[in-house]
Subunit: 241 residues, 4 copies
Amino acid sequence: MTTALRVTVWNEFRHERSNPAVGRIYPEGVHETLAAPLREAGHQVRTATLDEPAHGLGGAVLDETDVLLWWGHQAHAEVADEIVLRIQARVLEGMGLIALHSAHFSKIFKRLMGTSCDLKWRVADERERLWVVAPGHPIVAGLPERIDLEREEMYGEHFDIPAPEELVLVSWFQGGEVFRSGCCFRRGAGRIFYVRPGHETYPTYHQPLIQKVIGNAVAWAAPVDAARPRRGRSESPEPIG
Amino acid sequence: MTTALRVTVWNEFRHERSNPAVGRIYPEGVHETLAAPLREAGHQVRTATLDEPAHGLGGAVLDETDVLLWWGHQAHAEVADEIVLRIQARVLEGMGLIALHSAHFSKIFKRLMGTSCDLKWRVADERERLWVVAPGHPIVAGLPERIDLEREEMYGEHFDIPAPEELVLVSWFQGGEVFRSGCCFRRGAGRIFYVRPGHETYPTYHQPLIQKVIGNAVAWAAPVDAARPRRGRSESPEPIG
Amino acid sequence: MTTALRVTVWNEFRHERSNPAVGRIYPEGVHETLAAPLREAGHQVRTATLDEPAHGLGGAVLDETDVLLWWGHQAHAEVADEIVLRIQARVLEGMGLIALHSAHFSKIFKRLMGTSCDLKWRVADERERLWVVAPGHPIVAGLPERIDLEREEMYGEHFDIPAPEELVLVSWFQGGEVFRSGCCFRRGAGRIFYVRPGHETYPTYHQPLIQKVIGNAVAWAAPVDAARPRRGRSESPEPIG
Amino acid sequence: MTTALRVTVWNEFRHERSNPAVGRIYPEGVHETLAAPLREAGHQVRTATLDEPAHGLGGAVLDETDVLLWWGHQAHAEVADEIVLRIQARVLEGMGLIALHSAHFSKIFKRLMGTSCDLKWRVADERERLWVVAPGHPIVAGLPERIDLEREEMYGEHFDIPAPEELVLVSWFQGGEVFRSGCCFRRGAGRIFYVRPGHETYPTYHQPLIQKVIGNAVAWAAPVDAARPRRGRSESPEPIG
């Protein structure tokens, strides 16, 4: 039923190799845990990581990507500006982008938002409850009205993003904060979804409901086969004068 | 590729029978011209008209409708309030609604908008050009950047609707006006698309590009299989006190 | 510095007279507690209540009102439809409307929204924290980043409203829910602000920060002196044909 | 009645000195023509131009600016990146920005939008009609429902910007195009207004109605005195565990 898409899952892939606690949760890396359910859904999935040449995004990879997932945290600054500009160009052409958790501070997300993307945070093993505030949105298809995560990092408002064009999920945290956790944006012909959970020291991406949100977001962010608008100096369709 | 949907095309069906000029353009009624390409696309389409019992929307018709198209003009007042309330309830539950042209003044559209839905108009055989302002939106998939209609009625701003959640098409008219012609709204779990062209004295719904817009809108407005939110008095998921 | 506005505070004024606990908190009625800081700010404030003739909104009252505040709860159904239609017409002309707490279920708010406006609720003496998600919005001028209320009724998502055009406040509740608590809408030439707190058994409207939000909302919702758009049949500014 | 604001009008100031036709229309430069009505309205206005040291924006100028107007065209690339970053930071803190006409391609506007900001254009001495699509918006206070400009450059859709948070004006062009001509955005605590007209070879900024739009936009974009949100690692207001 789902259209098969060409999906690229990008991961910084540092924590998993340097922190044994993270490595135990994501032994093949966050990217493989994210890729597995997307492969099962029938998508054509490849992965790419920071330390590969061109961060794994060289050659035709971006041109052949319908939807790009992005997880990064401690090494945002190491991502080459040239790659960031190519990703931005592809999004404006129609490629979907799913920015995951700490990708709020990635170069590509900040460039597409135009804001600082700063927020509050705390790692305190606290409960998070994600409430659906847009029932009927394709990204929450098949979900209950709330997703509970027993332990997650807290992200709190004010989250310095442009107002999302569609706000889908809002998080409650045990410590007293709220957060706009599922946010849709359109830039050029491309669609962007920011989804909050996924701190590396918790098994969040093994959670079936979180996998469901991400799978739905991939389908929602798929490029639409539309005429590319002509721009620049243009003849008038009507006679003038 | 398209999911088959249960579509109901509702038409006032008065002009076609009282005005021979309209009858020549739409001999089986506007509803049949609208229904034909949707049937070809594989949808399960039925039609309903004002003068049928319960306006053709009685029994289980609405419950078994995924997307409802609505064309009305001179007899808005004859639509029973009880049916209007049932349509509204179904939209809030997730049924899609495509409001066509003069349906801007229908009871159901005004009820869902909360505004007067008033506008400027003029019938002067003038050119309309509909420009895509949201390339990448599923409703403009496969379309060129502009649709030209040689002769249409003019509708002009200010169109008294709430700001559309997504503005997809803006019309230019030969006489000097502009109009927000393709407008997306969400109400409850349902999606609403207003699309401007379609005055009964012009063959607009025979135009393949207009049929394409409507077909895309039907797919976009399809209900999402989501949990119905629980409402009313609720126990707390967290202990209090 | 603030422009003096003609403000009408409408209150159902039933709980205060039938429930001694409420009467102790609001001895003159919720309307007088709401009116006092608006008078201090220099506005020209009158009050109106359900049991007055025409609910206190007859004659020229609505025509002479720049911003209307509305508090109702148990007697929504007793508000005359004719008055509701007149309020709606005035909002479309530019009058501001501040819908307070249980006014989410008032006839006028539901009519302007086009949705059920339903939600979750619970009275359990729990903490509410309202977080600012739109710093820089005039409605949060002079406020801290968060307002804490020691005891309030809970309202929880999904709140069945159209997506707010600007989302200003999001509430956290001790029991585990979140809520879109400060929501801006525009309908016609008028502005509407929904603000959540204010259950009658708690002294919420005596809280200076809540008074600040309401005072800011009144200023934000003031009518703008704009040309009324011409509608109906219109001559073309450009020659046709 | 208007609050006096500290306004800085920035202009590239090259066309006026190199093209005698432009110099005749704006003998003191576009900036002085823009500044004059703002001074008359009681604002504290200074001007700054590209060829001054630090483009006239060094020292405390930006810190002491409430609203910045920006006109640039042929020399966008000469604006120093460091200044662009400082302007962005000030907008996120709350400074208003009015981007005028060809400033759609300025570094600062593109950075705040995250998109290409590309469009169609044509210089053909054609008529433009700007229609108000948001009556009741403060930016159109005191305006008629339409502004006519006898001769202007054409800008046409698709204009590659994020969907404006409020769309206020839509242009009709004689040659057959439409354009979203008055667009509101919020970034961080700051407000941005893009306003289309103002090609240097036409006397557009001498037009009283265009001056009115710009004056209203300056008032609308004024910073709000709000608490700056705390960000980064945060203690929980509620006890955890």
